[in-house]
């Protein structure tokens, strides 16, 4: 008994000495500290109602979208900076996306945001960076920080080509593993509307993955099964072409009939094989490749 207590104390002490342990809001396992999904959706709607949805103009019929996720910025942000430099340098990229887990934990929000404002823009083009919240952006009550810097996590954006062809990107907040009632209704309404328009591509972007078919890199928390099937049904019913997400940190491409679900690698500096995705949006089906930073 005495040995067990001593051993437990040593393990607890070692855990406490590990700075990464401090970055986990363990109380969040029992009661999340950020606003719940319905309140977050309300906050996002408030911003959307006042500011509208992004409408972005591409300079060619074919353009690139740079997509990264899980930068988990804390003490370093090297890969994040490389990603920003890369999409800004690409004259054919009007849109870059970050699919959540922008920071690893609290106190790094301004440090994470700074390169977006300080890395010089490309004078030959305009580009837009859009983000969605991940679970690491919520715990320790960080939703307030997210809203301060990134404003909204449930919205859509349209990219329009010179010929007037439009691609739709829908962003949904799955930071706690569910869409919630309000967001699901909004997604259904948005997809119903999208199906009445002539969008060239419809892409849904979020943080949490639907399935994990390759367990070789471990398995990570995702949505309850009921939510998984309901969301998948909604997406496929409305002819969504791609579902881009992160959270798992290891790449996986799953063909689900008419829809392809892609888990994109993490861009975390401490990740052994970080990568981001570059999608080519043209008249043909979406083409994509993974790039190391």
């Amino acid at each position: 008994m005495k040995k067990t207590i001593i051993l437990s104390s040593i393990i607890a002490l070692l855990c406490a000495c590990n700075p990464d342990t401090w970055n986990l809001d363990v109380t969040g396992m029992f009661s999340g500290s950020s606003a719940g999904i319905d309140q977050r959706v309300e906050d996002s709607f408030d911003y959307n109602n006042k500011n509208g949805f992004p409408h972005i103009y591409a300079t060619a019929e074919s353009y690139s979208v740079y997509v990264c996720t899980d930068t988990h910025v804390d003490r370093t942000r090297d890969n994040w900076e490389k990603f920003i430099q890369a999409y800004r340098a690409d004259a054919g990229c009007p849109l870059a996306l970050h699919l959540g887990d922008l920071v690893n934990a609290q106190n790094h929000w301004d440090y994470m945001r700074r390169p977006v404002d300080s890395i010089p823009a490309n004078p030959t083009k305009k580009d837009t960076l859009l983000v969605v919240a991940g679970n690491h952006d919520l715990y320790f009550n960080q939703w307030k920080e997210y809203v301060r810097l990134w404003k909204t996590s449930t919205y859509y954006a349209i990219v329009e080509t010179p010929a007037g062809k439009q691609d739709l990107y829908i962003f949904v907040d799955t930071g706690e593993g569910i869409l919630g009632k309000k967001q699901t209704e909004w997604l259904r309404t948005t997809l119903n509307w999208a199906n009445t328009q002539a969008f060239r591509h419809i892409v849904v972007c979020t943080h949490t993955h639907l399935f994990k078919l390759d367990s070789s890199q471990g398995i990570t928390s995702n949505m309850p099964l009921e939510e998984t099937y309901a969301l998948l049904h909604l997406l496929k019913q409305h002819k969504v072409e791609m579902f881009w997400c992160g959270h798992d940190h290891s790449r996986e491409v799953t063909n689900l009939g008419s829809m392809t679900a892609i888990i994109i690698d993490a861009l975390f500096d401490r990740e052994p094989q970080p990568a981001y995705l570059i999608a080519t949006m043209a008249d043909a089906p979406i083409d994509y490749r993974f790039v190391k930073p």
């Binding site: 986990l24 809001d25 363990v26 969040g28 396992m29 029992f30 009661s31 999340g32 500290s33 950020s34 719940g36 999904i37 679970n135 690491h136 919520l138 715990y139 930071g175 706690e176 593993g177 569910i178 919630g180 009632k181 699901t184 949490t208 399935f211 994990k212 078919l213 367990s215 398995i219 990570t220 928390s221 995702n222 949505m223 309850p224 099964l225 009921e226 939510e227 099937y229 309901a230 998948l232 049904h233 799953t254 063909n255 689900l256 009939g257």
Partner: protein, 239 residues
């Protein structure tokens, strides 16, 4: 060829004809049937009703079987069979937990088929199971001409730990349980459910049961919130 609709009908019919499943009662060697009704809610479906039927069959001293059927007004039905070879050890009982579970998510056009194999241990006040499962997910109606109508989640860890106030053989009991496996669902490892169960033996044959289940979401996103809950009550009849 047997199409998916006929297959499902046949499957459910077979389930209904099987004698129905009861909670395993440690030490019980009686055949039992059960029928429960309940109210459930989750943020995906809203409110819905559940109707559970089951049968417990102690084939012999070393082997027991259980069959479970759930019908739900949300259009999410389940049918499962549990096979449980068991061995008495100096303290308590070890068993192999083998389950086949089919869930029909009719409202969403999906059907999943999950196989679980695990080891369990039960003694007077505790039952514990740890195992692994594989899930096959199919669209319904199934497109036999496409490989993309079916996907497989090959590996999932399953667990159940249930603690009882009284000995499992006593005429009344209350238990608390943390698990990702119920008789009607095998969730992913990171999606635990918490359950409180009470039972009372009215006489040698009839037992009344009440169970409350809570299913949070985002526990391992470290941003846990309410996802769903369930209250069900019903009777077991021991032959």
């Amino acid at each position: 060829m047997l199409n998916m609709k006929k297959f499902t009908t046949l499957f459910l019919l077979m389930a209904a004809l099987l004698p129905v499943a009861a909670q395993v009662q440690y030490g019980t060697e009686q055949y039992a049937v059960r029928a429960y009704a309940g109210y459930a809610h989750n943020t995906t479906y809203g409110s819905y009703g559940v109707f559970d039927f089951g049968g417990f069959m102690p084939i012999n001293q070393h082997f027991e079987m259980q069959a479970d059927l759930r019908l739900s007004t949300a259009g999410n039905h389940a049918f499962g069979v549990q096979l449980r070879p068991k061995f008495t050890v100096p303290v308590g009982e070890m068993f192999i937990e083998a389950r086949l579970l089919s869930n029909l998510y009719k409202r969403d056009g999906y059907n999943d088929f999950t196989q679980l194999i695990g080891v369990g241990y039960r003694m007077d006040h505790v039952t514990a199971i740890v195992g692994m499962s594989t899930r096959i997910i199919m669209e319904t109606p199934y497109d036999w001409h496409s490989t993309q109508s079916m996907i497989v989640e090959p590996f999932n860890i399953c667990y159940k730990i249930e603690a009882f106030i009284c000995k499992q053989t006593s005429p009344w009991n209350i238990s608390l349980c943390a698990t990702n496996i119920t008789d009607y669902q095998i969730e992913r490892v990171w999606q635990p459910m918490f359950m409180a169960t009470g039972l009372y033996n009215i006489d040698n044959h009839w037992q009344v049961n009440l169970a409350v289940l809570c299913k949070p979401t985002g526990m391992f996103h470290l941003n846990a919130k309410y996802y769903g809950s369930e209250v069900r009550a019903g009777f077991n009849y021991n032959f």
